[in-house]
Amino acid sequence: MLNIKCPYCGDRSQKEFAYGGDGTITRPKLNQEISDEEWDNFVYLRKSPRGKHIELWHHIAGCRQWFKVERDTTTHEIFRTFKPEE
């Protein structure tokens, strides 16, 4: 069980959170022509790194805010958590 520090509420149990996937993916800009391949990559293509990884988490049973977590996917050590705009 992970102990995750929500940037708004502080330390909480993993039970209160939902995992939101890779936090480094950026959506293609609106009104910009992109190829099917680029769109396909945005929707489906994900890396599965071993080691440090930036992830999105949702404090779904808390303040209901999305935030980012830098976590080691091997050891599960959490290095930092921060708001999406930081």
Partner: protein, 194 residues
């Protein structure tokens, strides 16, 4: 419209669990809070409107994980730019609506959509610890937080330290399960339901 509690046929008065040979004042007291006005205030993310001037029943909107209260009304912090107001004054929303312009705020009446269970007694924290993963002991009077209890999303309002008293809010549809979880966790200590 008449409000019908979700615990209408569930919450029964009496003493339950390990109450025999115990002083009545040592028992946990469990009651339901009903017929109150509940509404949510959400300030839109892009809004920069100053909230320091807003007063509801002479109470300011509280800061992170805090509540503000008087004898009739409590305002709880639910998240950034998000608060919930609970009041026995059922006309409070009508009287205060003008403070919230539609460009910056969304106000939603939730009076029918919550179940509120109040627990009082020295062993309240022990009951909460049975199903809730937060560090309960660090919360004091005037604090509030969202969490879960046996998998059910709840809001805990820490009303007073002496006597120890908390209110647990759950979604109406989970009211019966939440009531069962709370009373089941209280059986070991004995509780008086009223």
């Amino acid at each position: 419209m008449k409000q019908i509690s979700s615990l209408n046929n569930v919450h029964q008065n009496g003493k339950f669990g390990d109450f025999e040979n115990k002083n009545e004042k040592d028992l946990l007291k469990i009651s339901e809070l009903k017929n109150v006005l509940i509404f949510q205030i959400v300030q839109y993310k892009n809004s920069s409107s100053d909230i320091s001037n807003i007063k509801i029943d002479n109470l300011e909107l509280p800061s992170t994980l805090k509540s503000s209260s008087n004898s009739d009304t409590r305002i709880l912090w639910m998240g950034p730019k998000n608060w919930i107001v609970i009041s026995s004054k059922t006309d409070l929303l009508l009287k205060n609506e003008k403070q919230f312009d539609e460009v910056n705020f969304a106000i939603t009446d939730l009076s029918h959509s919550r179940t509120i269970i109040e627990i009082q007694g020295d062993l309240v924290n022990e009951v909460l610890k049975k199903g809730c993963p937060i560090n309960i002991d660090k919360f004091n009077e005037g604090d509030c937080t969202n969490s879960i209890y046996n998998g059910i999303s709840i809001t805990i309002d820490f009303i007073s330290n002496n006597p120890k008293k908390v209110r647990i809010f759950g979604l109406r549809s989970f009211g019966e399960s939440l009531h069962h979880s709370i009373t089941d966790g209280s059986l070991e200590f004995g509780y008086q339901s009223n």
